[in-house]
């Protein structure tokens, strides 16, 4: 009873809160990092160095008037942000934050497949939001989101196949253990796949340079043009939760999850003194920082260019990678 219900529920409660709180601080981090990149200070007014901005922002969003346009499809309009957010949170169920069983909710034997399928539901939220708003700019944004989805999703999924081939398992914990056994992070074994998943991850989370669906300068905010208040906040939460998901997935697949660097070299064994979850969060933070850094640096792709990139570059490379991995697997 306690083993099967109470402890998992407790874990879920802790994890949900942790994710949602870290999302609010992610927004602060993003504003701060971008500000530093642009030689300014970022939020400085609320609390010391603007730390409390992370709390002020959600309060502001909750207190704002929540407007539904007259011509919007009311049900879908409300449902869309929820569809967007829930998958982003559900995925955390299979992410192992540490080596011990305490640090993950569950380890299912098709963990990676679960992540791929659940995260692709999230984009329906964006498509529905654009459609239900019954407004022209959001409609264009939702069309872009659909085009974007089919361009990167196939490439990313195919790339993951090569990782699965290498690890011989779909379980997230299993993949990390396989890296422990082989003594190498898969980032070194599968460098091409690493880069592809990182690019695909940017597209998946609608982050710059692939933020076409919300392109403020073109579509005045894109799919969330008509949203305000808490419903807008849900989209916001979803975007940042997705960023954390992608960082976690990339960490697990390519940077050895909770493992220390070079797990096979005994001379570095003193690094094991650092708890496994700190390694995990440290690596995740690197990717989150990278996402923000990219946003501060790069211009935006045009959506036909993303489609060209997806279909003509990423997918052929992904297929080639599978073939090479397969041959290597048989030969070695």
């Amino acid at each position: 009873m306690i083993e099967t219900i109470v402890i998992p529920l407790l874990k879920i409660a802790v994890l949900l809160n942790a994710v949602l709180v870290s999302v609010t601080f992610m927004t602060l981090l993003e504003r701060k990092v971008i500000a530093w990149a642009q030689s300014r200070l970022g939020p400085m007014r609320v609390g010391p160095y603007g730390v409390l901005q992370a709390i002020a922002d959600p309060i502001k969003l909750i207190l704002k008037e929540d407007i539904t346009p007259v011509k919007a499809d009311r049900m879908m309009f409300t449902l869309a942000p929820i569809i967007s957010l829930v998958p982003a949170l559900v995925v955390f169920a299979v992410v192992p934050f540490g080596g011990d069983e305490l640090f993950y909710i569950t380890d299912i034997n098709v963990g990676l497949l679960f992540i791929i399928s659940v995260t692709s539901i999230g984009v329906y939220g964006i498509i529905l939001a654009g459609w239900a708003s019954n407004s022209k700019y959001p409609l264009l944004a939702s069309l872009r989101a659909s085009a974007q989805l089919i361009s990167y999703e196939i490439a990313v999924t195919m790339t993951l196949v090569s990782v699965i081939l290498t690890a011989g398992t779909l379980s997230m914990v299993g993949i990390v253990q396989a890296q422990q056994d082989s003594g190498l992070w898969y980032g070194f074994v599968q460098p091409v796949a690493f880069v592809l998943v990182l690019i695909g991850g940017l597209a998946e989370t609608n982050r710059a340079p692939f933020d076409m669906p919300e392109a403020e300068q073109e579509l005045t905010g894109g799919f969330h043009t008509e949203y305000s208040g808490m419903r807008f906040a849900l989209f916001f939460l979803a975007e940042y939760a997705n960023m954390i998901v992608i960082s976690a997935v990339v960490t697990v697949l390519f940077w050895g999850g909770w493992l220390r660097p070079f797990p096979s070299i005994d001379a570095l064994a003193f690094l094991d003194l650092i708890p496994s979850w700190i390694w995990f969060f440290g690596k995740m933070f690197v990717f989150l920082y990278l996402f923000i850094w990219i946003r501060a640096t790069l211009p935006r792709y045009r959506y036909d260019q993303l489609m060209r990139l997806g279909w003509k570059v990423l997918i052929p490379i992904a297929i080639g990678n599978i073939v090479v991995t397969g041959i290597a697997k048989v030969v070695l």
Partner: protein, 373 residues
């Protein structure tokens, strides 16, 4: 470009209203886009949202009062507007401007060009999605505004020139501040280039986008960087030198492809040329008065004149008619570069995607205050 109506799938054209409230329309421009998917098949550029009747207003003002009004046309390059107007009236009245005043005017105009190009670079990059460049460019523009504040006390609408010269000599130490700024600016241009010039995404977004041939550019009456981007040599500073430009050495950068990327490169090069002109101006600054001999009552004799200068956006011309009796112009007409360049917008954007529309609004560098007047 028109799609044939399929018997099964009926495709509708989507008419979308971009602006006047839109983050990328640089003020209050409205573009009615007819879209097939995201491709623009027709566009209607609507202007007039910031019309203040400056031309008509000027016909009821003193000759000196009009300088104030010219500030408010191209409000990101007020000093060049002042310069154009003052020179036109001087030409009409045949007033000789002291050499020192002409030098200072040139320095001010070139500083203004850098400031205006900074604003253009920032917003243009922002439209394409690179937001850091925006902050970088505005950081340097701020320093120019400080220099102008030191000179005349204002930061946006300077009213910094008078008919016959300048109201003020440059303050002590100002030239050294400008020199320091030139050095700084020179070290900052590589920062912009690093973020954009060889950036793969920037290249994809700007190369081959909004191509216009030199012939078409002339036909449309484009001027300034959009014209030079297509490889047409036309710079009023060289062709019909005014102020002290005939005494300075500088190059006029020309493009070859006439696309957005070339126009970007040209403006970046103009930063460097402007710095070159400013340095020459400061080094060769003659001594003497800054105000010429001007009658107490400015009342040109009957006649008309047209005079053009090269504003940051292109050829800024003033056509003024005086009837010789009143202390205000009989007819006051401005040929604003933004207005003429805006003519080129429709041919540029038709056939491109929505994402390119904002890029192309950025690349022709319009200021709506000048378009509508």
């Amino acid at each position: 470009m028109a799609t044939e109506a399929s018997p099964i799938f009926d495709t509708d054209e989507l008419v979308i209203n971009m602006g006047p409230q839109h983050p990328s329309t640089h003020g209050v421009l409205r573009i009615v886009l007819k879209l097939d998917g995201e491709r623009v098949i027709d566009a209607d550029v609507v202007i007039g949202y910031i019309h203040r009747g400056i031309e008509k207003l000027s016909e009821n003002r003193d000759w000196t009062q009009i300088i104030l009004l010219t500030d408010r046309m191209d409000y990101v390059a007020a000093a060049t507007n002042n310069l154009g107007y003052c020179e036109t009236v001087e030409k009409l009245m045949e007033i000789e401007v002291p050499r020192r005043a002409r030098y200072i005017r040139t320095v001010l105009a070139e500083l203004q060009r850098i400031a205006s190009h900074c604003l253009w670079l920032g917003t243009h990059a922002m439209d394409v999605g690179a937001m850091t460049v925006f902050l970088y460019a505005f950081r340097e523009r701020e320093l120019i505004l400080d220099l102008f504040e030191d000179y005349c006390g204002a930061r946006l609408t300077y009213n910094s020139m008078r008919i016959g010269g300048l109201p003020l000599d440059i303050p002590t130490g100002w030239d050294n501040k400008v020199r320091a700024f030139c050095d700084l600016m020179e070290s900052k241009i590589p920062e912009y280039e690093e973020l954009l010039t060889n950036n793969r995404i920037w290249l994809e977004r700007t190369r081959g986008v909004g191509v216009i041939s030199g012939e078409d550019a002339v036909g449309l009456g484009l001027c300034g960087p959009p014209l030079r981007g297509s490889g047409v040599y036309r710079d009023v500073r060289k062709d019909e030198p005014y102020a002290a430009y005939d005494e300075f050495e500088f190059d006029v950068p020309l493009g070859t492809n006439g696309d957005t990327y070339d126009r970007y490169l040209i403006r970046l090069e103009e930063f460097k040329q402007s710095i070159r002109i400013i340095r020459q101006g400061l080094d060769g600054m003659p001594e003497g008065p800054v105000m010429g001999k001007v009658p107490r009552l400015i009342k040109p004799k009957a006649g008309e004149t047209y005079h053009a200068i090269e504003s940051p956006k292109g050829e800024l011309g003033y056509f003024i008619v005086s009837d010789g009796r009143a202390t205000n112009p009989y007819r006051f007409r401005v040929r604003p570069p933004s207005f003429c360049n805006l003519q080129g917008l429709r041919p540029l954007i038709v056939g491109h995607l929505v994402a390119d529309v904002v890029t192309l609004i950025g690349t022709i560098d319009v200021v709506l205050g000048e378009v509508d007047r």
